[in-house]
Symmetry: C2
Subunit: 285 residues, 2 copies
Amino acid sequence: MSDDNITVEALARLENCDDPRLKLITTSVITHLHAVVREVEPTLEEWGQAIDFLTQVGHWCDDTRQEFILLSDTLAVSMLVDTLAGRKPESATESTVLGPFHLPNAPELSFGANISKDRIGEPTLVTGRVLSIDGTPIANAKLDVWQASAEGLYDVQEPERFPNMNLRGIFYTNGEGQFGFCTEKPASYPVPTDGPVGAMLKALGRPAMRPAHIHFMVSAEKYQSLTTHLFVRDDPYLKSDAVQAVKDSLIVEFKQLDNPVEAEQFGIPSPYFKVNEDFRLALAV
Amino acid sequence: MSDDNITVEALARLENCDDPRLKLITTSVITHLHAVVREVEPTLEEWGQAIDFLTQVGHWCDDTRQEFILLSDTLAVSMLVDTLAGRKPESATESTVLGPFHLPNAPELSFGANISKDRIGEPTLVTGRVLSIDGTPIANAKLDVWQASAEGLYDVQEPERFPNMNLRGIFYTNGEGQFGFCTEKPASYPVPTDGPVGAMLKALGRPAMRPAHIHFMVSAEKYQSLTTHLFVRDDPYLKSDAVQAVKDSLIVEFKQLDNPVEAEQFGIPSPYFKVNEDFRLALAV
């Protein structure tokens, strides 16, 4: 069998697949995997290294660490998927990547609750509304929120310090579409470099830093769910995000305020940072 | 950032990689991964399914199971790598895939030893020589041999029955380049279908069968190592091997013989099957 025939034959073997979408995806994957092999002509040792690398990435995945998402993110595959899948009306809030640190089952918290367990970072109040693209407030929209600490670590990266969920929470909008919560100002941080993806970045001479941000998953009945970040304006890594996830419209100001009345209302000290940002959801199709 | 820019930017970030080979490989991988995403336009759910699939493949890998090799094999990536990497002088024995079942540290056995622990299958004598491509016998060449049983299972697939190595052994050629060992006639078998790759084959409507074969890794100082199979002639799956690893020159006759003298010499009953096949190694470059 010549090397051309190998690909032809591999694709021909999909003829009995009765799932046209799966067949299309597999055809594309085989075609391009084979194209990589033809371009690169890996030695058997390099093929073995690739197998070992993927195996290691798999072994690093557990309930709190998703190294394959990190791999997808750092190769900008996630961002490309997001961009192509996330085409929405222009007035809807833009999406960005999920990232490897989302956990299901964050605690449901009431309006204004503080998701920072140790309250050591700079106090920050996040408020806003969830709206439809025509500006109508959406009541009872769900916001699943998570972020790294002021030290640039997610709770799952320091489980001895935060055995339970820290800097995570689920909030629902009130009748006016409003949400609000307290937190600490997130810091920029390196993606985890202790695993195989970190070793890959190092071998590629690539910086691992991400600009500071808060993650949001916003959902409401009859609307398209939105996975996005709010990035901290003036962060030095906005242009070099290791996962290329920054969109200009998602960069927001964390405004420093000294308003003892509002601070007391939310149980945080003044001065504090405040972000006020609305999310606009497109209707489900 | 437009979707075109995402790929341009991802490739630009390799500029500080000081390993030109790694840079070339990563450039090819990113280019073609992104091409798949553009062709397929996966939904976020499909992207999540791909992440889950790869994670499962990784989780199935352990010391005796290599599901990523099985994935590479069933997508014919392994065979393409083998074909491109294995270009040797025409008179050298052809290579084929390693497969997911090789174990390091098989027992070293003496000439004529029987690698079948239960002796239940059809007795088979395998003899031959290791030669250079000009026909010179190579003394002290190493043959690492492994195969599935007469029931189509590798030892690691039934660890309760064969807690130690079964149907595996390392042999060295004598001064005339000869090797010989006894075994049971291998059977055709399905690749493991209990894991994620098996689920993939099922979803693709693809048969999982491989034609019967014995694996060999043949190596000798100053020669290129050879990883190959000997396939059983007349096997019904030679044309539909699930991993596309059959090459005509590797199909050999398992000849039925009734030779009580030879059988007694090797401690097997007569009649028995005999394969006599030489391996020709190319000089190392």
